[in-house]
């Protein structure tokens, strides 16, 4: 089996699983309880929070736990907008955001907010000028992702932050769900970024848990009100085992990260060497530093992405078409449309996404499979 769909979700690391099970058994209490079991659960909760702050070397930022990336995105986009609606009604998001950001923005449009969707350049990056031109007097929030989940395009967050330095009143949110384990900390952790959202299952942690990094002086309305947990910012009994497991997964994502990156580059080269030689293949995530090497998007022109997926799956090889959330409904990728890719590329989009558990021999096998597949599928081309 070859699993190359790590941007959709990653297999949990066995050491993380171990933490999950141990914490489930050893710390059964509710952190809000005052007795010993409650206090022990609180210790695990706060220790995990501190670990995350230490690992990411956070200063002047706090960590809040959520049920995942979608909740983090909804919380910040809607929470900031609702909290600041007296200061302005204008929001800027990129057109290539994940559905969690885009649909939250669309909900706000229905409530009367105005949203500008920034188009990317042909490489799939948001240009600083584009942002600069969109800013208005009544802009309250900008949300731009760190790494695009379909193309792997790394967004120039430092340059975008430079623009926003001139507008201290604007809140800057970054969806960093795809950024972990890719050596991009110097890009997504800068002082101008107020909020970031993360999701545990994208870096070999459990599903159903995530976190938001927030600026303590930037206010937002809670999305889920309740028993005062998370400083009153997010109600609900804390998922202690998953939180501890996620903190561990985050730490492990930095293990051998140099070697992992090297491995991804080598694997991407193997794939691109094959794809570039064959004119029927079209590469979106080209050989450039713009793209994180572990996400490679391409198309077999004239063959629907789905056909390829199903062909490969019969050989126990798993890749995807667009992002998992929209692939269910066969909607064309909004990311490639925003990049103005030709129709046949959009229809044929394929995404390979790598993780630490993958190795070079798998990529070699994958290329062989692609080669054989092309012979079989020639009739379609």
């Amino acid at each position: 089996m070859i699993y190359f769909d790590n941007s959709a979700t990653t297999p949990i690391d066995p050491r993380v699983l171990d933490t999950f099970v141990k914490v489930s058994q050893t710390y059964p209490g509710n952190p809000s309880s005052l007795h010993q079991l409650g206090r022990k659960a609180t210790e695990v909760l706060e220790l995990s929070r501190q670990q995350i702050k230490d690992i990411l070397n956070l200063k002047n930022r706090e960590v809040l736990f959520t049920s995942g990336g979608s909740e983090g995105d909804n919380l910040i986009i809607k929470g900031v907008a609702h909290n600041r609606k007296l200061s302005g009604h204008h929001i800027i998001v990129s057109a290539i955001e994940h559905a969690a950001v885009l649909n939250a923005a669309k909900q706000l449009e229905k409530e009367g907010f105005e949203v500008t969707y920034l188009s990317p350049d042909k490489n799939g990056q948001i240009r600083p000028e584009t942002l600069s031109n969109a800013i208005r007097n009544d802009t309250i929030l900008v949300s731009i992702m760190a790494v695009n989940n379909e193309t792997g395009a790394i967004q120039p967050l430092n340059e975008l932050s430079d623009i926003l330095q001139k507008y201290p009143q604007i809140v800057f949110h970054v969806d960093a769900v795809q950024a972990v384990g890719k050596q991009l900390e110097s890009i997504y952790l800068n002082d101008r970024i107020d909020f970031l959202s993360f999701s545990g299952h994208k870096f070999r942690g459990p599903k159903g848990i995530g976190f938001v990094i927030y600026h303590p002086n930037r206010h937002f309305d809670p999305l889920i009100a309740g028993g005062g947990q998370e400083n009153g910012l997010r109600g609900g009994t804390e998922n202690i085992p998953a939180i501890a497991a996620m903190a561990k997964a985050l730490r492990l994502s930095f293990d051998n990260i140099n070697q992992c990156q090297k491995k991804y580059i080598e694997m991407k080269n193997i794939l691109l060497n094959f794809l570039d030689k064959d004119p029927d293949f079209y590469v979106i995530s080209k050989n450039s530093k713009i793209y994180t090497p572990s996400i490679i998007s391409f198309a077999l022109i004239g063959v629907k992405g789905e056909t390829v997926i199903h062909y490969l799956e019969a050989q126990e090889t798993f890749i995807s078409t667009t992002s998992a959330c929209s692939s269910n409904r066969n909607q064309p990728s909004h990311v490639l449309m925003a990049m103005k890719e030709p129709d046949e590329v959009i229809k044929g989009e394929l995404r390979v996404s790598l993780g630490p558990q993958n190795d070079i021999s798998e990529m070699k096998n994958f290329v062989n499979q692609l080669e054989k597949m092309k012979d079989k599928l020639k009739v379609f081309i």
Partner: protein, 388 residues
């Protein structure tokens, strides 16, 4: 030292079978259900089976059961989004003064935003009166949100009667059944319930996963929007391992088991009350011993403040709480007991909640009664000494 856990209303330990189910799923089912490839498809089938378990447990249809991150999220979704989508039909909501904060806070927030919210009072047994409810109901009432039973006293609410009354009214009926699921049989169709919330970690399942039942005729927009998971009603990568853990926990509490536990809990509660009396402890039941969930007992231990008694019992190895876990963290008086005994602050501050679970034995309850008696007598003697 042996440790005793009597705080199951706060959270339950995860059943070993449930941990096994979750672990297995974490290893086997790592695909994303939303992916079109094989992993996605196989897991979709298993997801359907898990949903069936929950649907059957409350007699709902398969397409009426959604997974959330817990009751708090379910409560927020149901109340906020109903208010948002029905505000053209009316701006009046009814709830009780003793709901969990995840209902109360949302209601208070809506009240600030121009909605008219009635907070029904409770009597000294902790329940609401049907007369009050009927008087509060108006043509522009859009939502009635009443818990199945209270989390601090276990006191049951007249759910069946309210469901009956609402059959001829356009208001939707929401029931927070977080404390009731797993200890009592709930039939949403028979009771006329339109929305129901519950959390897995109160029934020996994992934390961070919950249930939202929604009558298929009640349409509200999602609170968490994004991907198309949960039939577009709740975004976020489907949390299969915890969903399977939830279903497993629900299976372990099936109806036969429920009856068994009801009998055991009732007997343990009777034993506790009997022993406390025999040991000379001066106490009273907050609520109604018989009209309550079987596993919760709230007692006024006269003469000793709970913030003195509970840390002492904790030292003796007994974990229990004063009010709900959520209000426990803060030093506030229990809003539930305050609503029941508005003129008796002493009673509010001298009350403790004992909540039983599968891991308690009758011997544990006997030990608890003795520990309470010992601490109470010791406290009283030292106070008498101080006076003399």
């Amino acid at each position: 030292m042996k440790r005793y856990y009597f705080d199951h209303a706060a959270t339950t330990p995860v059943a070993p079978e449930v941990i096994q189910t979750i672990t297995k799923s974490l290893i086997d089912d790592f695909g994303n259900v939303s992916s079109t490839h094989y992993f996605g498809q196989r897991e979709k089938l298993k997801l359907r089976q898990a949903r069936e378990v929950l649907a059957n447990a409350i007699n709902a249809n398969l397409n009426e059961v959604y997974f959330t991150s817990g009751s708090t999220e379910s409560n927020n979704t149901i109340i906020r989004q109903t208010a948002l989508s029905r505000q053209n039909q009316g701006k009046h909501l009814i709830t009780t003064a003793v709901e969990h904060p995840s209902v109360l806070k949302v209601m208070q927030d809506l009240a600030k935003k121009g909605f008219d919210v009635t907070f029904l009072p409770v009597d000294d047994s902790g329940t609401i009166s049907i007369t009050d409810f009927k008087a509060a109901l108006r043509p522009d009432t859009i939502l009635v949100s009443i818990m199945y039973a209270n989390h601090e006293t276990g006191r049951l609410m007249p759910i069946k009667e309210i469901g009956q009354i609402l059959k001829n009214h356009s208001a939707w009926f929401h029931v927070d059944a977080t404390q009731a699921l797993g200890v009592t049989k709930i039939d949403v169709k028979k009771l006329g319930i339109d929305f129901l919330s519950a959390s897995a970690h109160k029934i020996y399942g994992p934390k961070g996963i919950g249930l939202l039942y929604k009558n298929q005729n009640c349409v509200i927009p999602p609170l968490l929007i994004g991907g198309e998971q949960e039939n577009k009603f709740r975004a976020g990568t489907t949390n299969l391992p915890l969903i399977f853990g939830f279903a497993k926990a629900m299976e372990l509490c099936d109806s036969k088991e429920i009856n068994k536990w009801v009998i055991i809990y009732q007997e343990e509660k009777r034993e506790l009350v009997k022993l406390l009396t025999e040991l000379g402890v001066d106490f009273a039941v907050n609520g109604d011993f018989n009209q309550a969930l079987p596993h919760i007992l709230n007692l006024w231990i006269k003469g000793i403040p709970s913030n003195v008694l509970l840390p002492l019992l904790d030292l003796d190895g007994f974990a229990l709480s004063a009010g709900s876990a959520c209000t426990a963290g803060s030093a506030e008086d229990s809003p539930v007991l305050t609503a029941m005994y508005p003129n008796n602050l002493i009673r509010v501050r001298q009350s403790i909640r004992i909540s039983l679970g599968h891991d308690n034995q009758k011997a544990d309850v006997i030990a608890l009664a003795h520990a309470i008696a010992k601490r109470v007598n010791h406290f009283k003697r030292s106070k008498e000494k101080a006076v003399s």
